[in-house]
Symmetry: D2
Subunit: 360 residues, 4 copies
């Protein structure tokens, strides 16, 4: 279970009956519109594009509990997304030969061989779909406080962009690769096609900007806002790093370059720069919250790789068949946005109780 | 509270009575040696060196509960470290003029002005001392499974090293700056003296390597080993990013470069490379666990900075007096090592219950 | 979420799509047999009997995740029980006139009118079905340690029994009213028919005996075994009290009467009496764990009662239509047994990690 | 750790350095007055009376963190109560011969012999002192919502009272035995003296009434208000049962007798009777919350008892020396009141966040 007030639990396997989410602590009175929710889920499927996995997930969503007459009831919400009938025999074949850098091997050991290995089981990217569902509810809570969260592709391989917030809002979902600098999209698409032809994949970075957070979210010393975000973001398969504001670049900065001076603008205390990425001491400071996650290249590649046969305990080789996304960072964009929203909503709910107590 | 089995809570303020830690769930029968514990705490104080804060913390440690006849009892452990008498009047002066990139401002808002602002209160680096105390207990648990954790300075400003594990073990604490490439230490020391003369500070990166973890630590989909480590590491003031294995470098890597092929060596399944940093799918894979955290430059600098007077609500300037560490990443080394040990110990304890159940 | 190691979350509404449970932390390798599981669920439906609610719940169970090839995988388990199509219009009628001692009124206020009031929503006895499902998994864990849990009707109104453990095992489910003293069953059945004719209901007491617990379950000072059991038992609708061993009778006992002397039998330390009910200091002592819960009479009665019209804010009267159980304690028997098993399993898993660490 | 928003952890041993509490999540701005706090602690020591343990606990309280300038800061609070120098040699003597119905035996097994057995260690009544400290902070939160909590002795052996709320408020602490029916105090005192002369002890019942709770505290299906109260009350040594409203008496009641009809009074919806004890469906209904806990007779008696020598593994006898309370229920009164306040405060804080969200 993730969170303390807006609590989420994820379940389901890639080739099982469904994937889904349980949400505890979601306030009553939130309007739930299945069409809207499906649109959120659509964002995970850059369908028209040629680069993405051919498995056409027609996400059939069902709300099992916690919503009545189109509003949340305040009771536990369960939403599932059915898996379509899938052919799993292929996975039987590789059951004993773990794919390099996939979770096959660790899952087999950890779960004493009982894990559902078909399609990667719980380690499949498929489990990010219910994260988007939970994000849908979280965003509705955020909306009441005008908090907005935007994620986009900051980097794919050598290609990077530095868009304004307006460009992010306007262009991210116009671009099949979620890259808001539209002038580079064609070039990157060609690069990705080349990667695919090679049977290879490429990594990327997703940046997220959250606007209008109240000052004071975060509960140090332990439940910091950045720490809680980081933990949650590592739920997303292939995330290997998280940084806030200037992030790893801080390692070569001096304090005089890194510090964000305070100014007053329109009667509000702001900072002139935002190297801190909106968080100080684990607490939101009212400036835009900015973080970046790195998504490693998908480990499923068509190139021949060394691996071992775990039954015979000898070395062998593997070629992972099938067509796969050349860059899974693209699909991760709405997931990162959703996970970020989930954590902010959780902290917002907790922050409200002190606010009510101290300001009433 | 941090953790599920080995649970820690930190408390105390920089200029209050003490800082301390409560540990719940620590198993009985762990030998506690105050001298050993003090040696661990010494690591936070690179005393002979000229660069570090002149506040000489003679950490007087007192165990309040949970230890009897020099062994842990299995009941809640509380250990405190008294603060020496400190002069706090200076902080009164800056009460209304928040130091840029310090937590002064957010603390004031979040806690409705009731926070103990003296010496940074709970946001002081002082609260990392009890993290080292908790790390002491955690390491004792790890030792029973031969798990070892080593942190060191990977980077200070432009200086970086790439030491072998033997160099890390041998040299880190020989070097006053925790930089195991001893050939560069003098040059870096001169650089840090220059930084101090300027009244400035510099950032850095701490790398950590944990050896001999069993395969199977981590509880996806939510309580991943990397996620739990990341959350905990953000408790350390000034941490702004965490990455595992190849980390952010994955963004420019292809799958064929990034994947770690499986091999067999001495009858064990290993990987040829370790870009994954010992974690796949949120679970330890038996290879060395590797992570890096970036520590921003200390925000307390003697250079004049822009800030605001919160009482008069007008812009002003501030010079943060006193002598301060030129690079707080140095002091963070044993803290990162301790926090990493705490999380691994927590996962290890949980992992044991399935092991006992399934292998008995 | 309930529990720390074997964690359960319940969801669903009486007249919604389904009721269900999410289980996190269930170890892999537990055999799951749907027929067995359905038999457990059958225990909630003393079907042949005339006293129980006519709503014939043909519990169609579906496992959504966490089970693969008939074994638990170690990943989150979700099991749902579909609700049959139910006629809810009746509940519209009483939407504004809360049934005395039902949760109608508090639910309306707490959830700001958004709660699913049909059939009592989450407050219906229907939500105890997934508790039995979770109990099924818990009992499988208990079985590996020979722990057995038995609940039965100790009292219905003025009728009480004092059976031996053998009678409990043999007779409880032979008796349609779960009353193991079979000689009194006919008399009680007649009494219950009379209660039904009056349109009334009656309370009862369920006693539970758990055998073969290892010594040492329970984590004081906070997570005591009795405290965790008590909290969980209050999830069951209509439970209004819990007592262990001699329970409330302790209030009139002297220490010399209440204390359980230690003896040695077959090389084991036992107690001569078991007033403590198997728990001392919040920890299991190896003797049979004994607790009793009181179940209030069902609040749905056909007799005319005073209530208020919440829309018009004036007093009025209500007659709750439909046929209802004369004594809901009867249906509660397998639920109490399941909830007790869930908590013991949770503590057992945690207890295992210290055991493995200290005895290896 | 207990609670989700107002979180408490208790630590310390009877003959160790101190006992204490850590509180996380306590809002800032609560006035802390050490004299007031000491008065609360005084309630645990019915000093003038002859019946209570001669160990005169001059509770020296020290606040270690979380309070600044006499107000809570919003950061973790730690308060300790030093133990006076105590003579522990006596306990060495009985180390291997567990006192019947004390936790000696289970503690030895659970903690593998590492527990601090002196004075009962963590199982001593001494650990209830920090519960009163936490209750002090909780009551301050309750006060802002006019919530009041009163506990008193309902029963000692055969003596029972049925006081009005005014008598409870006025007389409980006037009476050295916390029995608000002052007319019976002398008789009970004589009875207790007789019990003492016999070297025996007697059980009792503590009733608690909490007034002015808002409607809506409690978070079913799992975190019910009654369940959370029950769990917390079992932290108090010697508690063996908890009941709400009519409690175990419900077992002989009919629905028509048990149900509380709704009425309207002064524009508010109330119930005519309060058999429910202020809780329906796990949620407060605005009526006085009423619960009773049974406290077993102290197990330390001077009468000779059978026990075993755990070293020699043979049966033997024990006489527990020293003067002890004839009825520990008396000392438990302020503890029960405090623990009840802690749980209500925790639920109140969570309730506030929905309130702020839905009513703003």
């Amino acid at each position: 279970m993730l969170g303390k007030s807006f609590q989420t639990s994820f379940f389901g396997e890639s080739h099982g009956r469904c994937v889904g989410v349980l949400i505890e602590g979601c306030p009553p009175g939130i309007k739930v519109d299945l069409e809207e929710l499906n649109k959120e889920l659509e964002k995970r499927r850059p369908g028209g594009s040629i680069y993405v996995s051919p498995r056409r997930e027609e996400d059939r969503v069902e709300i099992l509990s916690g919503v009545f007459n189109e509003f949340t009831t305040g009771s536990p919400i369960v939403v599932i997304i059915y898996n379509k009938d899938v052919i799993s025999f292929y996975y039987e074949k590789i059951k004993n030969t773990p794919r390099p850098s996939h979770a096959d091997f660790v899952a087999r050991i950890k779960y004493y061989g009982y894990n559902d290995y078909r399609g990667g089981g719980i380690f499949s990217g498929r489990i990010t779909a219910p994260m988007v569902v939970a994000g849908y509810f979280a965003k509705k809570i955020l909306k009441r406080f005008d908090v907005e969260v935007y994620s986009y592709i900051k980097r794919i391989g050598k290609f990077e962009c530095n868009p304004s917030i307006e460009e992010i809002k306007k262009n991210t979902y116009k671009s099949p690769i979620r890259f808001p600098d539209l002038s580079k999209v064609e070039e990157i698409e060609n690069y990705l096609k080349e990667i695919m032809r090679e049977g290879d994949t490429i990594g990327g970075i997703v940046e997220t900007i959250a606007l209008n957070l109240p000052i004071g979210l975060g509960e140090p010393p332990i439940d910091t806002l950045d720490g809680d975000l980081a933990k949650a973001l590592f739920m997303i398969p292939a995330v290997k790093g998280v940084e806030f504001g200037a992030g790893f670049n801080f390692s070569v900065m001096k304090g005089s370059e890194a510090n964000d001076p305070y100014i007053i603008k329109d009667g509000k205390v702001l900072t002139l720069t935002n190297n801190s990425g909106g968080i100080l001491g684990g607490i939101s400071n009212g400036m835009p919250l900015i973080h970046r996650v790195v998504i490693k290249p998908a480990s499923s590649i068509r190139k021949k790789q060394r691996t071992v046969d775990l039954e015979k305990m000898k070395e062998t080789e593997i070629v992972v068949e099938g067509r796969h996304d050349p860059c899974i960072a693209i699909r991760a964009v709405p997931v990162v946005e959703s996970v970020t929203s989930i954590i902010i909503a959780d902290h917002l709910l907790r922050w409200l109780s002190w606010k009510e107590l101290l300001e009433k």
